[in-house]
Symmetry: C2
Subunit: 241 residues, 2 copies
Amino acid sequence: MLYIVGLGPGDKSVMTQDALDAIEKCPIIVGYATYMRLVKDMLDGKEMVSTGMRGEMERCEKAIELAAQGKDVALISSGDAGIYGMAGLVFEILANKDQHLDVKVIPGVTASIAASAALGSPLMNDFCHISLSDLMTPWDVITERVDAAAKADFVICLYNPRSKGRPNNLREALDIMLKYKSPDTIVGYGKDVARLKEIEKITTIRDLDEEDINMTTIVIVGNKNTFVHDGRMVTPRGYSL
Amino acid sequence: MLYIVGLGPGDKSVMTQDALDAIEKCPIIVGYATYMRLVKDMLDGKEMVSTGMRGEMERCEKAIELAAQGKDVALISSGDAGIYGMAGLVFEILANKDQHLDVKVIPGVTASIAASAALGSPLMNDFCHISLSDLMTPWDVITERVDAAAKADFVICLYNPRSKGRPNNLREALDIMLKYKSPDTIVGYGKDVARLKEIEKITTIRDLDEEDINMTTIVIVGNKNTFVHDGRMVTPRGYSL
C-alpha cells in the first residue's frame, strides 16, 4: 500500500493522527529531505528515500515502484498532499502507465488554512487558491484566473507567490487585482508556514513589501469587506450582527 | 483563553494533536450538539454549552462571555473553524464590540480537503471554494462568482450545495458553469464527510443526480483537464509526464 501523507504546516502538533500512524507503520519513507527533518524522530530504523527539491517525479516513481512490490510506503508531502502536492503526481503517473496500485491519501492542513488560523479568519467567505508558479501552468492562464477572481471579489490565496526565478509574478498579479480591488485591500501573509517559523504579517496591497515574500510564503488578499481588528485579519461571513 | 477548534471531517483520527490538546485542557466546551458527539469520549467532567443548528451566534456570544471571565473555553467547529466556521463570527462579534480577547484558532482539515483525499486528487490545480447558501451572501454575488470561476477554468468546490430550503441552487450553479464547462466535466462529491459517512461518488455534470446531494455534501467540479482513472478523480498539476 502506498500512503501519500500530508504533513501539515510543519509542526507535528498540526499533523493528524492518521498521518502520524501512516509514518509509524510504514518501513519505507519517501520524501524531500527538508520534510524528512520535520518527522526525524519517527524515522529510526526505517528505509529512507530522499531526493532534492526538483526530484518530485523521481520520488513518486520510486514510491510507486516500491509499493508495487507489496511494500508499505509513506510518501510524505508538506501541507496537504492533494493541493499542489504529491498525490496528483502519483495518480498522473499511474494513469499514464494505466497501472493499478492501492493508494491511500491522508489529508493534511494546507498552508492557507494554517496561515489563516495564524492571521485571524480571512477565509470566511468564498476564496480561491492560485499558484503563481508558471513552471507548470502557462502565465496567461494564471493571469486570467487572477483577473476573474479579483473581479468577482474572491479572497485570493497565492501559493508560490515569488521566487528568484520569478521575482515579478506577485507584482503582476497584484497589479491585475488593482483593476478591481482597492489599494487599501487587506493582505495577510504567513512566512515559511511549512517550516515552523510562522511569522505572519498584516498589511494592504499598497504597503506590501515584496522583498519580504518568497516561494514558501502564503499571501492572502482579502475581499472588499475584509478588515483588521485587534491585530487580526477578518473577512465577514455575511451575518448581520 | 478562547480556543476555536476545527474538528476536521469528523473522525478523531483526522483531528490534529493541537485540536485534541485544546479540548483536553479546556474545562468548558461550547458547540453544536452534533459536533459534541464526535468527541463525546473526551467530555467527561466538562461543562458543555450546546445549542441547536441555528444557534451559531448564541454559541459564539456565550464562548466569548465565558472566556472574558478568564476561563479556558474550547469553541468547536466542524472542518476548519476559519472556513465558513465559527472563527469569523467570533472575530466579527469582538470587532463590533471593539473588545479584546485572547483567542487561538486551531486549524483543521476542511471538508473539501477530506473529500479530495477520498476522491483522488481533484484539487491539484487552482481551485475555488464557493458556498451556495444565500442566507448570508446575496445570490447574485454567488452566481457572479460561479460564472467567473467557471470561465477561468478553476476547479470549483461547492459548500452547502443544496437543501430543502434551496433545492435549485445547485442546478442553477451547474447551468452557469455549463456556459463554459463541458457537460462531460468530471464531478466528485463526498456525502456527509463531516459526519463520518464518507460516501464518495464520481460522475459528470450531465449525469449528476441532484437528489443525492444535501447540505452537508461537498461537490467538487473539475477543470477541463480533470479525468478519471482507476476510480479516482484526478486534476493534473500540469507537469508534462
